[in-house]
């Protein structure tokens, strides 16, 4: 191949949008809204796994909550025909993530697993990613958080403790994914098995509303779950191609 040909091939390669299709894994989560009871176990599990700081009442009053996964609640109707719908909201790991393009220092990007990764050490704290995120799932460290001793002994050594001025968000428990990949490699396997890795929220969910896995594998539980006709994306109209798929809540016909 001549130099020009090489150049042309490379050019075409680099001009191909969204080549995350070719990633090693495409980690995906489905959340069945028909099962979610809004209990909040996922929230606490996430806090425990990912060293999410305690914010305190005064800071919460100033609107500085810090929960990588949160339960949103939406009321419908008025008393007595009133309904409450829960929806867990976490980083959607969008394939066309608005947050990634806006970071001037590439502190957030798409990694080879199709995850939306956040590099804490690289972050300079412009907070523009949080503005660009339509799901509002990016959280900022407004100051150095403290773990009064001995609460600090609980901190997970696999996850870094973020300093002030750094943006953070759900990672799909990337430390667990890393570990599973290492185990697979040690066992001489090419790929992580389905169900071998689960983020803390999925693991703890008592109604089994959440399923996590690789959608590249058509046999995986999550692919099956995505096959459900109830599958949809939240805020589909903003076209972010999320990796979190929700299954529609089922509304029973209650004739009263």
């Amino acid at each position: 191949m001549s130099f020009m040909d090489t150049l042309r091939t490379r050019w075409q390669e680099y001009r191909k949008p969204g080549y995350y299709d070719e990633f090693d894994y495409a980690w995906t989560m489905t959340i069945d809204l028909d099962r979610c009871t809004g209990c909040g176990a996922c929230v606490t599990a996430c806090q425990a796994e990912n060293n999410i700081p305690l914010v305190g009442e005064t800071e919460l009053a100033r609107g500085r909550e810090m929960q990588w996964i949160r339960i949103e609640r939406y009321w419908e109707g008025e008393y007595p025909n009133v309904k409450l719908n829960f929806i867990p909201m976490l980083c959607q790991h969008c394939d066309a993530a608005p947050c990634e393009t806006v970071c001037p220092v590439s502190a957030t990007y798409h990694n080879q697993d199709g995850l939306n990764a956040q590099v804490y050490n690289r972050c300079i704290g412009t907070r523009s990613c949080a503005v660009y995120c339509p799901y509002e799932v990016r959280y900022f460290n407004y100051y150095d958080h403290e773990w009064p001793s001995p609460l600090d002994q609980q901190l997970n050594p696999d996850v870094s403790v973020r300093e002030k001025g750094v943006m953070e968000k759900c990672t799909f428990c990337i430390q667990r994914i890393r570990q599973a990949k290492d185990t697979a490699k040690d066992d001489g396997r090419r790929r992580v098995l389905d169900g071998e890795v689960q983020p803390a929220c999925v693991q703890t969910c008592a109604t089994e509303a959440m399923v996590f896995g690789d959608r590249n594998d058509p046999q995986s539980q999550v692919s099956q779950s995505m096959n459900d006709p109830r599958a949809y994306h939240v805020l589909e109209e903003v076209n972010t191609a999320p990796s979190v798929v929700y299954l529609k809540k089922v509304e029973a016909n209650v004739s009263t």
């Binding site: 939406y74 806006v102 590439s106 300079i124 704290g125 523009s128 660009y132 509002e136 900022f140 002030k164």
Partner: protein
């Protein structure tokens, strides 16, 4: 106009006097503004560096606050100076010449203050150099797809361009002042004037270099504020994600910049005793420009609201509704009053040529424009797609102090400027005066005839 005939030497005298003779008022003002800068800007900022951005009132989801509003405000204020100067230079407007120097200085210092606001805004300002493309060990380069990176490039270019533009135009003046000063000032001006003599070749080169710079700077200035607007418009935040944003910001910038020039002109005229250099003509012309800008601005605002209403989407409705009638609703109507209604007074020529009313209006316009920037941030971000994530944002004391301090910093820089740079262009003012006629020859000829 009612401009009195003045001689060339008088111009030199005036300017050199403004540089060398310094009254007590100047020192008091300078001391006050330095004090304000340190007490309100640097003090709180260092506290914020120590504590974290939490010292400001930002929260989830309103992660941007007054710092960014101030940033846009100062960038906007910078727009009239260099841009106006360049445009008027290219169109050979005579009336530009007495005012463009200070207008450009305003540009320069507002860009500087804006750049500082970026430092104040980011969470880890000590790593802000990572946003600059330079070869490094980590082989990490900034993300050139980011609108914020466009900002970095555009503002750097604009700042460089503005510094060069103002400096190039001042070289002959430095030379003129060089010859009239002594001591450390003389040495400083020797350096600053670069050995300028004023030969015909130098004038010729300067003219062309200056013209090319002007040609380059006009599209640059327009691009800078368009790019700043894309920080917002490229997001998908309701009420920010609007195609009208680039012209909206450019028009707003020129609008507030022009108003800023009026304010600065008034102050210079009054306190530097430039009554004969800065005249009603300038205020009249600036007033006309302000009126045009105000109408444009009002139109674009109407378009913005119309787009939101026409979209029929709950997101746009709620965000615009919150801006108009929410907690910060009164500020919105204040902005409309100051920026859309009050400027209609400019239709009257009597108003345009009265100094004090023009000063009041120009300050009001800039208050309104600051409000606009504040509202862009503070009323859009709290009302986004997921209602359960809605929140409210109230500026904290630190933020308000830093906002006040940024004005102090601007004033300080400007006060230092007027003592170093001739704040009115010597040679261009001279150009506007009638050319000196040869006296001796005339006498001898008349005697002969």
């Amino acid at each position: 106009m009612s401009q009195r005939e003045i001689a060339y030497s008088e111009v030199n005298d005036d300017i050199v006097r403004s540089l060398v003779v310094t009254g007590r008022n100047y020192y008091i003002t300078l001391a006050v503004s330095i004090l304000v800068t340190f007490a309100c800007f640097f003090g709180p900022w260092f506290y914020q560096i120590q504590y974290g951005i939490g010292a400001a009132g930002m929260n989830h989801p309103t992660v941007w606050g007054t710092y960014l509003a101030s940033f846009i405000f100062w960038i906007g204020l910078s727009h009239s100076g260099t841009l106006l100067s360049a445009v008027l230079h290219l169109t050979n407007s005579e009336w530009r010449k007495a005012m463009y120097r200070s207008a450009e200085a305003m540009t320069l210092f507002s860009v500087m203050v804006a750049a500082t606001m970026v430092m104040v805004h980011v969470g880890r300002p000590w790593f802000v150099h990572w946003a600059v493309p330079y070869p490094n060990q980590m082989e990490m380069w900034p993300n050139f797809r980011s609108p914020l990176m466009f900002d970095v490039m555009a503002i750097t270019t604009y700042m460089t361009g503005s510094i060069i533009f103002i400096y190039m135009g001042t070289i002959p003046d430095f030379a003129a002042v060089r010859d009239r000063t002594t001591g450390w000032r003389h040495h400083m001006y020797v350096l600053l004037s670069l050995g300028w003599r004023g030969t015909d070749t130098e004038w010729h080169r300067l003219h062309w270099a200056y013209t090319f710079l002007a040609v380059l700077i006009v599209p640059l200035a327009v691009s800078v504020h368009s790019i700043v607007s894309w920080d917002f418009a490229l997001s998908i935040v309701p009420a920010l994600h609007q195609t009208i944003f680039a012209p909206y910001f450019v028009v707003g910038a020129i609008y507030s910049g022009t108003a800023g020039i009026v304010t600065v002109m008034f102050v210079l005229r009054k306190y530097m005793k430039f009554e004969h250099l800065i005249t009603k003509l300038h205020f009249d012309n600036l007033g006309k420009l302000l009126l045009v800008m105000s109408l444009l601005w009002t139109y674009i605002n109407a378009v913005e609201l119309f787009t939101g209403w026409y979209s029929e989407s709950s997101e746009e409705y709620e965000a615009l509704g919150f801006r108009l009638f929410g907690f910060y609703g009164p500020l919105y109507w204040e902005m409309i009053l100051f920026c859309a209604v009050a400027p209609l007074l400019l239709i009257s020529k009597r108003f345009r040529t009265s100094f004090v009313p023009m000063l009041i209006l120009s300050i009001a316009i800039n208050i309104g424009m600051y409000t606009e920037r504040f509202l862009i941030v503070a009323t859009s971000l709290p009302r986004q797609y997921l209602p359960d994530a809605w929140g409210m944002y109230y500026p904290s004391l630190v933020e308000i102090l830093i906002m006040i301090g940024s004005f102090g910093m601007f004033t300080t820089l400007f006060l230092i400027f007027v003592k170093i740079f001739p704040s009115v262009s010597l040679y261009e003012v001279k150009e506007t005066l009638p050319e000196p006629q040869p006296k001796l020859r005339t006498q001898s000829e008349s005697g002969a005839s």
